[in-house]
Subunit: 358 residues, 2 copies
C-alpha cells in the first residue's frame, strides 16, 4: 500500500495521490492509503463506507462546515505518472487527476491533518465514483445511509474552479423529442409519412432558441438548450417511421426540475416529449453568513458554476454549498490536464486562513 505523508507540501501530496491510479471503480488502493494516513489522527473521528472516508473534528464549535472531494478520476490516457512542467514561466503539475480533482483533495488531506483545532468544526469527506453513474456515487450513497454526516451550516466541494469561489450549479434535464411516421418504400414515398421530415420544425425551434442569462443571488447563470443526439432511419430505401432528438436543458438554479420540464414541453409544443433524466440545480447559497465569511476570508469574487456538481446534493439536503478548488475546469478530463502549483498553494492558504482566523 502506498504511504501518504500528510506533512508534505500540498504540491507533493498532489503528485503522490495522482500517482496512485484511482479510475472510478478502482479507488480502493488510494482509499486505503488515505484511511491509513488519516485513521491514526487523534483529533478526527473517522468513518469508512466502501471507498468513502469521512473524518470529523468535534471541538464543540457553534458551526460546522463539510469539505468534500472525490478521489476517482476518468480513465488514464498515458498521463500517469505526473510530470512537472513549466508554462509561461510558471510551474504546473501535469497528469490525470491533477485538475479533477486530486489537487483539491491533497489540500484537504493536508489541512485535515494540520488543523487540529479549527475555529469551525469540519467534516472532511473523500468519496468514490463521482465520474460515473449517480447511483454509484459515494456521496449519494452516504447521503442515503448516513444523512446525519451531512449536518452542517455550509459545504465546500473542492471541484476545480481556478481557485475562485463558484456558487451553486445549473440544473440538468434530458428529454427525447420524438416524431412518428409511416414506413414505405422510398420509391413510393407518397404512401408513407416521413418522421425525419416531421422533426424539422423541432430542430428549427432549437436552432432559433435563445438561452436565458438568469441572475440568482447576485450570480448570473447562463442556460442552454441543445440537441445532443439525433437518430432515425430504417434502411436506404425506406421512408422512416421514427425520429428521436435527445435534448439537454441546462437551467438556472432558480428553476426547479418541474419548471424546467414545463419549459421544455412548451418549447416543443405539439411534439411528443419524454423526460429521461433530470437533476435539480443548486442555488449559490452565498447569502448564508458562513458563506459570506468564507468568501471574504479567501478574497474571492464569487462566480456561477455552470456544470452540475455534487454541490446540488448538499443543496438538496438544505446545506448551502460552493465549489472551491485549484485547476481550470475546462481542463478536466482533458489528456493535457495540468494544475498551476500556485493555485494549489492559494487554495490551501485560503482554506487555512478561513478555518483558523480569530
Amino acid at each position: 500500500m502506498p504511504e501518504l505523508d500528510l506533512s508534505a507540501s500540498s504540491a507533493d501530496l498532489t503528485r503522490a495521490i495522482c500517482d496512485v491510479p484511482s479510475v472510478s471503480g478502482d479507488e480502493t488502493p488510494l482509499a486505503d492509503a488515505i484511511h491509513a494516513a488519516i485513521g491514526g489522527l487523534a483529533h478526527l473521528d473517522v468513518y469508512r463506507d466502501g471507498d468513502t472516508i469521512v473524518a470529523r473534528t468535534d471541538r464543540g464549535r457553534a458551526q460546522r462546515v463539510v469539505i468534500a472531494g472525490h478521489i476517482d478520476t476518468v480513465p488514464i490516457n498515458a498521463n500517469v505518472p505526473t510530470r512537472d512542467i513549466e508554462l509561461d514561466g510558471a510551474p504546473y503539475i501535469w497528469g490525470r487527476g491533477t485538475v479533477d480533482m486530486k489537487a483539491g483533495v491533497a489540500v484537504q488531506l493536508k489541512l485535515a491533518a494540520e488543523l487540529v483545532d479549527p475555529r469551525i468544526d469540519v467534516t472532511w469527506m473523500w468519496y468514490d465514483h463521482e465520474e460515473v453513474a449517480a447511483e454509484l456515487n459515494g456521496l449519494n450513497r452516504l447521503s442515503q445511509t448516513r444523512p446525519d454526516l451531512f449536518a452542517g451550516d455550509f459545504a465546500i466541494l473542492g471541484e476545480p474552479s481556478n481557485g475562485e469561489v463558484e456558487g451553486g450549479c445549473n440544473g440538468n434535464l434530458r428529454a427525447i423529442v420524438r416524431t412518428h411516421g409511416v414506413r414505405a418504400h422510398s420509391a413510393r414515398a407518397w404512401i408513407g409519412e416521413n418522421a425525419i421530415h416531421r422533426a424539422a420544425p423541432a430542430l428549427m425551434r432549437l436552432a432559433e432558441y435563445r438561452p436565458r442569462d438568469v441572475a440568482v443571488e447576485g450570480l448570473v447563470y447562463r442556460e442552454g438548450l441543445n440537441a445532443v443526439r439525433i437518430g432515425g432511419g430504417v434502411a436506404g430505401n425506406v421512408i422512416p417511421d421514427l425520429c428521436e432528438i435527445e435534448v439537454n436543458y441546462r437551467f438556472a438554479p432558480s428553476r426547479s426540475v418541474a419548471e424546467a420540464e414545463d419549459h421544455v414541453r412548451n418549447v416543443f409544443e405539439g411534439f411528443e416529449v419524454e423526460v429521461v433524466d433530470s437533476s435539480e440545480g443548486a442555488r449559490p447559497g452565498l447569502d448564508a453568513p458562513l458563506a459570506q465569511e468564507f468568501v471574504a476570508a479567501v478574497g474571492a469574487t464569487p462566480k456561477p458554476k455552470y456544470g452540475w456538481t455534487d454541490v446540488a446534493r448538499f443543496s438538496a439536503l438544505g446545506v448551502p454549498a460552493v465549489n472551491y478548488g485549484p485547476g481550470d475546469p475546462h481542463l478536466a478530463h482533458h489528456d493535457e490536464e495540468r494544475v498551476p502549483v500556485a493555485q494549489i498553494e492559494g487554495v490551501e492558504q485560503g482554506l487555512r486562513t478561513w478555518l483558523t482566523a480569530s
Copy 2:
C-alpha cells in the same frame, strides 16, 4: 434435385418453383432444376454462367426480344411451402416468391418450352442475386462478361406489375448532407457549435420540398426526395460536432444521374453534399415499334414503374425494356406475399398471343 415439368400449368409451375427455396446466394438447386428442364429442349441454345441461365431461339427472325426474370427471393419467413388460398372468391397462391417473382418466371419457363417456333426470336434469361447488392446481380455480371447475349430490339422483365405493362423506371440517387460544428461540454454550450442545430434548415428544405410529376413518353413519373436516415451526437453532455442526413432522390428517367446530382446540390446549397450511390433511370421505351405491338397485343394500358428495376440495365445497353408480370408490387417482400392465379394465366396468355400472333 427437384424435377420441373414444364408442360404443367403455369400455376402448378409457380407452386413447384416456389417450393424450391432460393433465397439470394442459395439459388443453385433451383438453377440446376431449370437447367435440367430447359437443357434438353432442341429448339433452345442454352448457356449457363453460375446460377444464371440463358436460353435462345434461333429461328432467323428479323427481330429479337429478351425476356428475363430473377430466380432468387428475399429471406423466407415461415411462408414456404406455398398454400392455395381464396380471397373474395378468387384463387391465389400464397408464399415467398409468388409475387417477386417466381410466378413470372414460371410463365416464362412454360412458354420457353412450349413456343418452339415464335414469330420473334426470344432470348430467355433467368438470373440470380437480384435482391441483394448490384455487384452480385447475375444480370449485371452477364452484361459485363457476355454483352452479346443482351442484343435485342426490346426487353421484357417479369417483375410484378399486376399484369399491366409498367414502362421504364425512376432513377435513384443517395447522398449525405453533412453539417459540422465544434464539440464542447453541454454545460458550456456557448463554447461549441451545434452541428445538429445547423442541420435544421436542411431538414426544413426537405419538409417543404414538393416533388415533381414528370411526363416521359406519355407516362407520368412521380419523383421523391426524402431523408432516409439521420444521425449525430457524441454523448448526452456533449455539443455534437457532426450531423449527417442521408437523402434518397428518386427521379424521373428524363433526368440523368448528373442532372439529379445537380438538383440535389441545388436543394442543399450551402451544405456539404456527398453523393454515395446512384443509378440511372430508364425511359419507358414505349416508342419502340416492337413495344407498341407488344402493348397492343397484351391489351394493357402502360403505366410508369416507380421503383428501380433491372429494366435500367437493358435501357443502359440501348434496349428498350418494360416490366410485365403477375402480382401486386406492393406485396413484394411482404410476409403475406400472394399472387392471383388469374394474373398468372393472364400474363401467360398475353405473352403467348404476342409471340405467336401472325
